[in-house]
């Protein structure tokens, strides 16, 4: 027998009879959604990383205190990577009669490799993007330097022993960044002019940066190669390691998009499983008849596997095609709202969509079809025979394995996979039990109620197992959507709170003690919101409980990577009050006006990594004098709150005698930027570090990640809708038959529709409630373990979940079954016979 030929004929006949519509639609939409999401996420991710790369002005940067081996640059160029170089140093610059401490950056003609420089001809204007930095013999300066040096564009400025005309006003550079080496207003010059200034001398504090950009794989290869070549004073990094706030936002954003794709795959799988189950059910009699006519189990297998392969190939191809077109459409529609340009889609996600489609088919659609081989031919005579003997364990086993494999493949993260998977399994087991109990209680209530209610609830009870399963499927779909929604909300809230609108955007250091109170008044007079002024003094721990701190460090060296060492020199401060956002985790904070033996407070990571505990005796060396202290408490610090933060804080009374400087942070809105000039003119010894540009850039990237997340959420919602529809369709025959019989017995439209509505709403309510419980459990695990967020219970969910369930399932169910009251009962029964 030509199996393929027969399979094709059967497939065509099934298609003609409308048996394939739902299965094909599920497959196509499942593959389509996954391809769309994957493609879109891939493009967004590429775009975000590219956008973030402008933060470094490159894809990779080597930072070093000394020039690096020229062989490294040669290697990068031979690999086809673009390169550029910058050199940063702090220096005084002079006009005819004024001087200003500034942060000089010398750049070559290829800088920047990513992002654009923005420059203008006049100070305090908007400016326009330019392709290159200053030409040799020219100098650009930040707008604020013009008034403070009292110069106009075109006039001469001295850097070291050389003089240059200021030809442009620097408005923005992509890799401005923060940090102490960038303190002070920026002067940009050409790298070729640096020797002439004679500023670079042995012992100068210099920051060499070598920039690289190009093909991602080549960059990875280059990074691996170069990491071994670099000495301890140099390191290579990309945007994720290079910019703390952005790296974390990107990481979490990527994890979310990944989670979205994962849930999309699971939803698609469930939709396929349901559609395939229905297809298989409707073919039980078909196969039984074929068997009486001589079809062997093997030929049944061959026929349906052939059908499966043909169907799978067609639908995955079609799905991938639709996915490709859809993501292009989505990107096009959304382009006005996406502030970054999306790179062209690559073929990888299309391939991913195709493979995903086939794995989904194998694990979700094949098992129900394989059941068909075990249909007993005697079924043609005895219609009461139940499901074929092939075990459900095998069917579910396939699905479970497929889901796991897909999740792992997508996430490349076994921990995340196991986390979601075990969460879902535990939830499902608990939920199954609850669903069953709910159905039973529904029956009890139903007995006391009116006829439509009684009919609906009795029907639900009678098909107890099927309905429990259906509640679980509905619940799972709603649960996955709620999870995504909750995690998204938590992430966005976290990001927004991470950098509030009025977060300090400038640091001021090197403030002398006598300037503390006038500066505070100046801030107050100008309405500038500032943090307290903290004294800052260098010092180090020399002994811990009588043991040399550096000896301890050496001993513990192996177990620690980049953890703070106890013996390193640190900025110390003292305070009577616990700084904002610091939390005591062990011991107690001292009274504000503490007078007594010296006490210190340690930051948690420093304490833990160095095995320091409350009560330990530490001896500090500050300016050559030893201070014995005791650890009074351990505290956590919010490092990203843009405020002065310290690893070690002393209690009042121990450090006041030492000469010290003060530091603070403050918020200065853009329009008040000139206030800096007044401040620096009046207090020339202090240094202001401007991080407003950095904050703005972080916020913009976070906004983009947020938008990406919302988009993916919408796509997954569509996929969830499909599952609901497939699930309702799968149980349709039984419901249609029952209600057609009721209609023949004279039940009115009202009663039938009423009982259907009640049944679906009750299913929706149960499913919504289960989804709420399940999503709370999973979100708790996800937020605490994967996204490292603070978990809090979501009270609104307990209303939202059941309501969403009732509305969605009630509406979809009624829409799908309304045919039963519109079609003559005889037709319905004849069709289902």
């Amino acid at each position: 027998m030509n199996v393929l030929n027969l399979a094709l004929k059967l497939l065509w006949r099934d298609w003609r009879a409308g048996e394939l519509t739902l299965l094909l639609a599920s497959l196509v939409i499942a593959v389509g959604t996954v391809t769309t999401v994957t493609l879109f996420v891939d493009r967004l991710q590429q775009a975000l990383v590219a956008e973030s790369a402008t933060f470094l002005a490159a894809d990779r940067v080597i930072r070093s205190a000394d020039p690096i081996d020229p062989e490294i640059i040669a290697k990068a160029e031979s690999m086809g990577l673009q390169t550029a170089q910058t050199l940063g140093f702090a220096s005084m610059v002079f006009s005819e009669d004024r001087a200003q401490f500034s942060s000089v950056k010398a750049v070559d003609g290829d800088y920047p490799l990513r992002g654009r420089l923005i420059a203008g001809d006049e100070p305090f204007v908007r400016g326009a993007p330019v392709d290159e930095g200053p030409a040799p013999g020219e100098l650009w300066m930040e707008a604020r330097l013009f008034p403070s040096l009292d110069v106009q564009p075109g006039e001469m400025i001295d850097v070291g022993v050389a003089s240059f005309p200021v030809t442009k006003v620097l408005i923005k550079e992509p890799d401005r960044g923060g940090g102490f080496s960038n303190a002070g207003p920026r002067v940009l010059m050409n790298l070729a002019d640096v020797p002439a200034t004679e500023v670079v001398q042995p012992g100068s504090r210099l920051s060499y940066r070598y920039l690289f950009a190009g093909d991602w794989n080549k960059l990875e290869e280059f990074s691996e190669w170069v990491a071994l070549k670099l000495g301890p004073e140099a390191r290579i990094f990309g945007v994720k390691e290079g910019a703390e706030g952005i790296g974390e936002a990107l990481d979490r954003g990527e994890r979310f998009l990944l989670l979205g794709s994962l849930l999309g795959v699971v939803l698609a799988g469930v939709a396929i499983a349901l559609a395939a189950q229905r297809y298989s059910l409707r073919h039980y009699d078909h196969v039984a008849i074929m068997k009486t006519l001589g079809a062997t189990p093997q030929s049944v297998d061959l026929i349906f596997i052939a059908i499966f392969v043909i169907l799978g190939t067609l639908s995955t191809m079609l799905g991938a095609l639709i996915g490709f077109a859809m993501q292009a459409g989505v990107a096009e529609i959304l382009s006005p709202y996406i502030p970054i340009e999306l790179p062209a889609p690559t073929m990888k996600p299309v391939l991913l969509g195709l493979v995903t489609g086939f794995i989904c088919l194998l694990s979700f659609a094949l098992p129900p079809l394989l059941k068909l081989r075990s249909i007993e031919p005697v079924r043609v005579i005895r219609r009461d025979l139940g499901d074929p003997s092939i075990s459900d364990g095998l069917t579910y086993g396939f699905g479970v394995l497929g889901t796991l494999a897909l999740m792992w493949w997508y996430s490349q993260d076994l921990y995340l996979t196991m986390m979601i998977f075990s969460g879902a399994v535990v939830s499902l087991v608990i939920l199954f039990a609850i669903a069953f109990l709910m159905l039973r209680s529904g029956r009890v209530v139903g007995m006391q109620a009116g006829s439509a209610w009684r009919l609906a609830l009795a029907g639900m009870q009678r098909r107890g197992n099927e309905n429990t399963l259906q509640i679980l499927v509905f619940g799972l779909a709603i649960m996955l959507l709620l999870i995504l929604f909750l995690v998204r909300t938590a992430l966005i809230t976290e990001w927004q709170s991470q950098i509030p609108e009025d977060a300090p955007n400038h640091f001021a250091i090197n403030i002398s003690p006598e300037d503390v109170s006038p500066i505070r008044s100046l801030f107050d007079d100008n309405g500038v919101g500032s943090q307290p002024l903290y004294p800052m003094i260098r010092g180090r721990i020399t002994t811990v409980n009588g043991v040399s701190a550096s000896e301890r460090d050496k001993r513990m060296g192996d177990q620690r990577d980049d953890a703070p060492r106890s013996s390193s020199g640190r900025n110390l401060t003292w305070s009577g009050v616990l700084p904002d956002d610091n939390l005591i985790v062990d011991g107690e904070w001292w009274p504000e006006n503490y007078e007594g033996p010296p006490l210190v407070s340690l930051e948690q990571e420093l304490a833990e990594r160095n095995q320091l505990e409350v009560g330990d005796e530490l001896v500090f060396t500050v300016q050559g004098i030893e201070i014995p202290t005791q650890v009074a408490n351990i505290r956590t610090v919010a490092w990203d709150n843009m405020q002065p933060n310290f690893y070690i804080i002393f209690a009042p009374g121990s450090l006041e005698a030492f000469p010290t400087t003060f530091m603070t942070s403050f918020f200065l809105p853009k329009e008040q930027k000139l206030f800096l000039n007044d401040l620096l003119r009046e207090y020339p010894t202090m240094t202001v570090i401007e991080i407003d540009a950095l904050i703005e850039q972080v916020q913009r990237i976070i906004d983009q990640v947020t938008l990406a997340i919302e988009l993916v959420l919408v796509l997954i919602l569509a996929s969830g809708g499909l599952v609901l529809l497939a699930s309702i369709q799968a149980s349709m025959d039984e419901r249609m038959k029952q209600h057609a019989i009721l209609r023949t017995l004279g039940a009115g439209r009202r009663l039938v529709l009423g009982s259907l509505l009640i049944e679906f709403c009750a299913l929706g309510f149960f499913a919504g409630t289960l989804a709420t419980i399940g999503s709370e459990i999973t979100v708790f695990m996800l937020e605490t373990e994967i996204f490292e967020l603070e978990y809090s219970v979501n009270p609104q969910l307990w209303v939202l979940g059941p309501v969403v369930g009732i509305v969605l399932i009630g509406a979809a169910g009624l829409l799908a079954t309304r045919k039963v009251v519109e079609t003559p009962p005889a037709n319905v029964l004849r069709e289902l016979a």
Binding site: M1, M290, G294, A295, I381
Partner: protein, 232 residues
């Protein structure tokens, strides 16, 4: 053509084992027509399913042609069915998604016969449905559906035709036509006919009848003359 030895069938129920058939010994010769007769629940349909290899017995042996089908697995039994057996069911059992001709072609397609379509067309003409070959089961009356089923049963030139209450769902006149058709084709193709019925008139048209009561072959009480004569 068909032979059984000590055939028995027991099923487990929640109230313990239930014996449906026990100690059935029978032999049906080639081209013979035999009616299996009995009251509802007597076990006649179970006997038919066992004889046709659709179900497996708990005890005993069944020989179909040269094959002892009780020692075969489902795969081999299906091959025997394909080669030897055709069916006509009370509820027609046509595939709703296939047209009349496609239903008749199915056995030939399954056994890989060439010329399935010409043969099916021919058979449908033969049962008087040449003008309705492209109609779907739901577009045909009960009698027409059963005629399609009969055409299907003879489509792959089988040796034995099993019929399970073939007129059970039809009115008397239509039923009579269907019976005429079965016997006519049976004679023409030289098949062995085994049919299950509780219709005495139908049983009387067969060469002999096997009576089943509570799972055993019994010798029937003498039939009152008046009924017997009216059936002839």
């Amino acid at each position: 053509m068909i032979k059984t030895k000590e055939l028995g069938k027991t099923v487990s129920t929640s109230e313990g084992d239930l014996t449906i058939l026990k100690g059935i010994d029978l032999e049906i010769k080639k081209s013979e027509s035999v009616a299996i007769v009995g009251a509802s629940g007597s076990g006649k349909t179970t006997l038919l399913s066992l004889l046709a290899g659709l179900d497996t017995p708990t005890t005993g042996q069944i020989f179909l042609g040269d094959h002892e089908i009780t020692s075969l697995d489902e795969e081999e039994r299906a091959n025997v069915r394909s080669a030897l057996v055709g069916f006509v069911f009370q509820s027609f059992q046509l595939l709703a998604s296939l047209s009349a001709i496609e239903n008749v072609m199915l056995p030939s397609e399954l056994s890989g016969d060439s010329g399935a379509e010409a043969k099916a067309r021919d058979l449908l003409e033969r049962v008087g449905l040449g003008h309705r070959i492209n109609h779907y089961p739901r577009q045909l009356s009960g009698g027409e559906q059963q005629r399609v089923a009969i055409a299907r049963a003879f489509a792959s030139s089988v040796d034995i035709l099993f019929a399970d209450e073939p007129t059970g769902n039809l009115d008397t006149t239509t039923g009579q036509h269907v019976i005429d058709l079965i016997f006519e084709l049976n004679k023409e193709f030289g098949t062995t006919l085994v049919l299950v019925t509780h219709d005495q008139r139908l049983a009387d048209r067969c060469d002999r009848a096997i009576h089943i009561a509570t799972g055993e072959i019994v010798v029937p009480d003498p039939v009152p003359q008046v009924i017997s004569s009216s059936a002839v």
